[in-house]
Symmetry: D2
């Protein structure tokens, strides 16, 4: 009953097996390992993007901060949702790496809308040299509220940004979960929808520590390498990043792991709804159910782990996250305790 976060899970057996195998013998360091070439080939094939490049780091914050710094000047504004991970959970890392300012775009259920983004675009960068300039757009999918953007929704937002020639970033810490939830292809969710750079999450979905920065236009690749090194994010024994990502992307493992997480998320959602909880729309693996007072304590007493969230008076709200390793038994025990 560990629903606090998908990062409390371990690594999937296929990932660990690949790492163990890659541990044998010697390999070139700093990204010149053989597995890295295979990762690039996999990304190009899976994203139907023959020029794409990917750079690997170990944390999602590093991936986001490097992606942003490479696409936004220090006097630029990054348009992101009010509750984006880059705004609330990265302790100024995006600002540290880029110098840019985050401009918060509101929207219900963790999603900005064409209207709210248009409003932000209209009122930013109009002050000449005195204010920040419009810099870039950063979306998150799965959102921090557990909701999901469909590709058409992403396109509607990137189109507004591109009217100002802004590059568009997607924070895909839970990218595989978003793909599974929408049945979109990786290409449909990214470059076909106007995304220029993707933070491709691996850690939460069955790796132990690897994230990719995928550049659909390779022109910024060398700059990103330099920024990665300057940030201290270039691994010497790089094969341990490459191998995780290679195994993750091979034979659809990443989608199978995400499908398990999402299926368990939906089982949990339906079970809670059936038992009277209010569960806002959450088609992937993160739920924010609302339930009667006293439920938190009862569930924790039964051994459940989750985060408590602010709720309307007289109610309680929780954040529940399922993962690749959540089992039906985990869910059913939780529902029984509820």
């Amino acid at each position: 009953m560990r629903f606090a976060s998908d990062n409390t899970s371990g690594a999937a057996p296929e990932i660990m097996a690949a790492v163990l195998q890659a541990n044998e013998g010697y390999d070139r360091s700093y990204g010149a390992d053989a597995a890295m070439d295979r990762v690039t080939a996999l990304v190009r094939e899976i994203f139907e993007a023959p020029d794409a490049v990917i750079h690997l780091v170990a944390t999602g914050t590093a991936a986001n901060a490097l992606a942003i710094a490479t696409h936004c000047q220090p006097w630029g504004a990054v348009f992101c949702h009010t509750h984006a991970h880059i705004a609330e959970d990265e302790c100024n890392a995006p600002e540290f790496y880029s110098g840019a300012k985050l401009v918060l775009v509101p929207g219900a259920a963790g999603k900005m809308t064409p209207d709210s983004l248009s409003a932000a675009l209209a009122t930013t960068g109009e002050g000449g040299v005195h204010g920040v300039q419009r810099g870039m757009l950063s979306l998150t999918n799965v959102t921090e509220a557990g909701t999901v953007y469909a590709p058409a929704e992403i396109t509607a937002l990137t189109r507004l940004a591109k009217a100002h020639d802004l590059p568009c970033h997607l924070d895909g810490a839970r990218f595989a979960n978003a793909l599974v939830a929408t049945a979109a292809t990786p290409a449909e969710m990214t470059w076909k929808a106007g995304i220029d750079v993707l933070s491709l999450g691996g850690t939460k979905n069955g790796c132990f520590g690897v994230e990719g920065v995928v550049l659909f236009d390779p022109a910024k690749s060398w700059e990103l390498e330099l920024r990665r090194k300057r940030g201290g994010h270039l691994f010497s024994k790089h094969r341990y990043l490459s191998t995780q990502m290679e195994a993750y992307l091979t034979d659809g493992l990443w989608l199978r792991l995400a499908a398990q997480a999402n299926t368990m998320g939906q089982r949990l959602s339906q079970g809670l709804t059936a038992k009277g909880a209010t569960v806002p729309d959450a088609p992937a693996n993160m739920l924010f159910p609302e339930w009667p007072m006293g439920t938190h304590d009862r569930l924790e007493a039964a051994g459940a782990h989750f985060y408590r969230y602010p709720a309307p008076t007289g109610r309680e709200r929780a954040r529940l996250v399922t993962s690749w390793s959540t089992t039906e038994a985990d869910v059913d025990r939780f529902l029984a305790a509820f």
Copy 2:
């Protein structure tokens, strides 16, 4: 015959076994895992420092940059050797994190001397508000030239720094190799010699990616945590860092691994000397031998890997690094090819 760098080796079996075991089940994230408490306890015991704290990151550059940023103001000077890793091989990461300026202190064989450090201290920070202020001292052991500082040599240098109230950092990417080479205890090499903060290397010596920042005065611990997060270096699945470090420090594994590397380094050194190469003093696991023209090609043709270095006219020079996984057979094949 892989002597290009100790980071072309894999991870030691004991490390991988511990990681595999830690992979089971769920654990708390972001450094709240159980193994991290044990790592702290190990560090305090091994360094005879009951108040020390350690923070884990995945790269040596991150460890150095965070250690420096936490101890030097943006208007400060970091005194380091002309060829220090922080000066030549980290693409401005120390400056990025700290804002400080590196002041290069010369010295033969990779080591600054009391005289060269005194001279640098005397001519820096004397310009009032116009120039950088004296900030901190950063030493490296094993040095980039493969030489080693004895504790008394470190003490002689930190004493000069402390006369100006400067904190002192030791870049210990090969700290275990330095301990083995000098027979010093961890405490003798660090806080007893005036070191305030240590970059404790794991990666080169049998881990796959973990380095520690050891603070002997815990007062800066929270600042270091915030800087680590802001730099994108806080692992969500942190147990994969803790477990490596725990296994590394348990039952003297780290010293056994370093002893193997050093023993192989000395076997190589003695063998080369016996066969006519010139091998400057290098008591640990990194050698810079000089040999006749044509040797590079012959060795590479035989399958040897190493770095070519600038040499006097008519001679060749190489960098050879042994590691925990180097075998007598590796060394002897190299000597035979030579």
Copy 3:
């Protein structure tokens, strides 16, 4: 009829006369000039603060950015009004100098309220190491909306900040105008109201280019000097800053200049109200009147200068700023054109 900004005015005759006199002969550079000692003495007397120190720069953005960088860590949050000058009109200078994040606190008429500040304080810095930490409070008086905080209002806000041990900054680009509008003493508006550091404006109010950073606790003085130099804001011929500030603060010149600006502002406000315009509360020298469509064009055709602002449908809004050099004739001509 130049009402676009108080920075379109020249310097007051008393200021220029003092500068001309100071131009004779030689003087020590970089702040060691004799006038600077007199400036410090004046500040201490006027603010009834015997330990206060003041550092001079040439722009308000520099004063604010240095004041903030000296009081807020790079992982901190600066609580400021949504439309604060530091948030909207300084092109990321505060972030550049400090690394901090600005957290926007809403509030009608340019003023945050205890409620809105409490809400911001409650939701920031609660995420442990993952989010920014509470850093400092920054208020503006006169506000960007032309309104004014009374000392008691400032106290109510700084008290909330100090409950979290946060230092408090006042952006006083129009500090003298705020004093005149409230009849408060400099001490009552600052340290007696919980302000730790003040940006003391001179440029808009009759100088040609000088602002002070007043530290009521001198402990941060040396850090501020180093940051000023590192920012390129330390004048070599510093006497030209000191002399302006000395003349400005001598014999109440600064308050007389501000009184003229405010009196003209009120004359304008009353005149416009009498003639049917809607003029929101604005007790100092900056008005945001609303009037019928077509007025903008008519006034500009008559030679008036001002900024056009967004207005409700069917109405127009302007920003009008009076200054020390605004005359009754200027105001009356404007009213006649209206």
Copy 4:
């Protein structure tokens, strides 16, 4: 007998007269003033560069730091002389604004040579992603040692830099003095010699506080404007910068002021030499004479101001700087005291 620095002088009468005149009435702020257009036209004519742009700031450190930040990436190296002002006297401002690393190029008498620059270029940027990349060249003329580069010497150095596609900066805090000393034209000393960006000094040579950043390629003009604002260096009452620079460049005033300073410097040099002092080559307005022990005290007792410098055992050395306001009487009194 004020020879401590040319920044202890006041402003020339022509400069003050122009400022007084410009003080009348209202003017547009933030660089939109009428005088600024005239400054641009003057620069284009004087430098024979019809596309050049100039941006004004108040300090030389600001000019240098902005020029460098606009031409060098944060992972780049700025090649400058070991004793360059940007390296020794700006408290990390160049690094703060640019993020770059200064690579120190040695050379006698304050001048780098083609050999020393070639050596620095050859050993920097060869480490792939691990080290800083070659970024730009920064020269100083008049140098910090009082010597002067002839245009051909500058060309020899910029040619080496341009072989690596590096932009070239000239720190011209004493640019007019260098022109007078070499009889070169502004164009010959800058773009015709491979200089892309110039810090054009005004303050030391008769202004009270204005320096220009001259871009011979205007493509970076908007970026420089944004960096200037973000650094807090955009003056609101900008006319006080423009007017100084306009008067300075009008009718050759800047060259007449520099000629006076240089003539007095040479009178001093010849007088000291005639009286037995050793005066190293110094064709402009800054001398570093060497003389017998006891001279310092005697001169100071007579009322002379200068800086004491390190000297060989048994000798004393001073820095003497003449300025536009130095008179023959000043020099002759000093020589008499000597």
